[in-house]
Symmetry: D2
Subunit: 149 residues, 4 copies
Amino acid sequence: MATPNTSTPEPTYHFNTEVRVRLPETDAMGIVFHGNYFTFLDVGRVDYLMNLGLTENNRPIRDFDNVVVAGHLDFRAPARLHDLLAIDVRMREIGGASFTFEFRIRDKRSNVVVAEGYTTHCAVDAEFQPMRVPEAFREVIAKFERWDQ
Amino acid sequence: MATPNTSTPEPTYHFNTEVRVRLPETDAMGIVFHGNYFTFLDVGRVDYLMNLGLTENNRPIRDFDNVVVAGHLDFRAPARLHDLLAIDVRMREIGGASFTFEFRIRDKRSNVVVAEGYTTHCAVDAEFQPMRVPEAFREVIAKFERWDQ
Amino acid sequence: MATPNTSTPEPTYHFNTEVRVRLPETDAMGIVFHGNYFTFLDVGRVDYLMNLGLTENNRPIRDFDNVVVAGHLDFRAPARLHDLLAIDVRMREIGGASFTFEFRIRDKRSNVVVAEGYTTHCAVDAEFQPMRVPEAFREVIAKFERWDQ
Amino acid sequence: MATPNTSTPEPTYHFNTEVRVRLPETDAMGIVFHGNYFTFLDVGRVDYLMNLGLTENNRPIRDFDNVVVAGHLDFRAPARLHDLLAIDVRMREIGGASFTFEFRIRDKRSNVVVAEGYTTHCAVDAEFQPMRVPEAFREVIAKFERWDQ
């Protein structure tokens, strides 16, 4: 009997985007080089923020700068040339000066999970010093992620 | 009086695709690193060939392998983070064992030409030896490019 | 009084190599794109294994294949164009089918820690199935890392 | 009888540097992705300019900015993972506002030529407008390349 596995609650994603694996993203092992998945996460973040009107022209985030302070990925299955990958993106939490995006990358055709992980960012001012994440940013994200419900 | 410049006939492109500039494709000069445009050309070639049914799963071209034997780009204007780039792609010519793609990359919003150039490829067999470009490939391309007219 | 901080024991590294930051590894923020540090870790691993005679020609590890199953980095300080980075590399542990490399990246001139993290690998056979890490590999690493002492 | 081929005079290179091919620089065809050779050319240029004291900290050239306006490579033979590549670098010519570097990439062990080509650069001011290549730069290069002899 095939039933859904209900024992491990998974995070709910309300946003996804996609990329097709390019030749230079693969390596001589015939699969995507693991470091290149962080590029896919970047595409996911940008599309997530664009969708919420939080980017502007050539700035990753419109109202403040940020630096990545941590990145983690668990690699579940390899991806290969031309594979279409769905990138699920959610904001996991926003702290004082930091915020953490969570990601799940799936092979779009098979729905196999390729990788899962997160990146943690720190809001910084013009001198690269930590600053509080602006309220407007928090509100837009919280509404989209339905944190108030 | 603004009139079209008719003195220099430009190549006619019947296919284009697009990419959005990703953060790791830019460099510390604030613009796309010139070598990364060859990645954009690769995206253009793949999408051109996919559109004609000439790719297959994880193979760049379905019926034979190829190696790039020359690449050239003239850089006309810089591209920056998040810019949408239109990649115009055409097959310029198919010789005995070689074929040459021609490209024009334009900023999609301004229609400014960012780069122009070509890549020349050699059809190779399983031992990486040159082989004649298969007829089926020639026919599909010639029909699409309207070389018989 | 300036004294060494002895409260937090750090891992001891017996091997390091170095890279100089290349222009395409930086991004429009003026610093190294975070995902590119995984390329530096790869350089560190290869040089560590080469130093022990564990690589061969075009194979990352001579006697068996491996896939990366997890990667993590904490980013402590930005690195910029032309910076010389020292990459400290050690094997943290070897399990049944998996093994974990640990890394510390330092700015060579200032000795400031730029990033720290690890990559976990799984030994796989020709069908990409997990296999036990070969004894010869364990012995060479254990001797170098002085695990028997 | 094996004699040197004297019919085609080759450019004389007075400088070379080297790179070892990294895993993410290879692709699923098992060879270095052609666009990545432009990264190797960049390494060659930086090392050539550093050797002449013409770089400074995080600036590609100490006394003025430049943009790449053309790049060309002919690919003669594939390079693979871990291959050591020698990059021969010379300044071919310096015009009013532009200058052209010429490159030859060889497999270091076999001396087989892997790729040959050039990049043309334009000196630009703070507004990205073309400016005359400074005399000091010309003199240092001309002396090294022995153009006066």
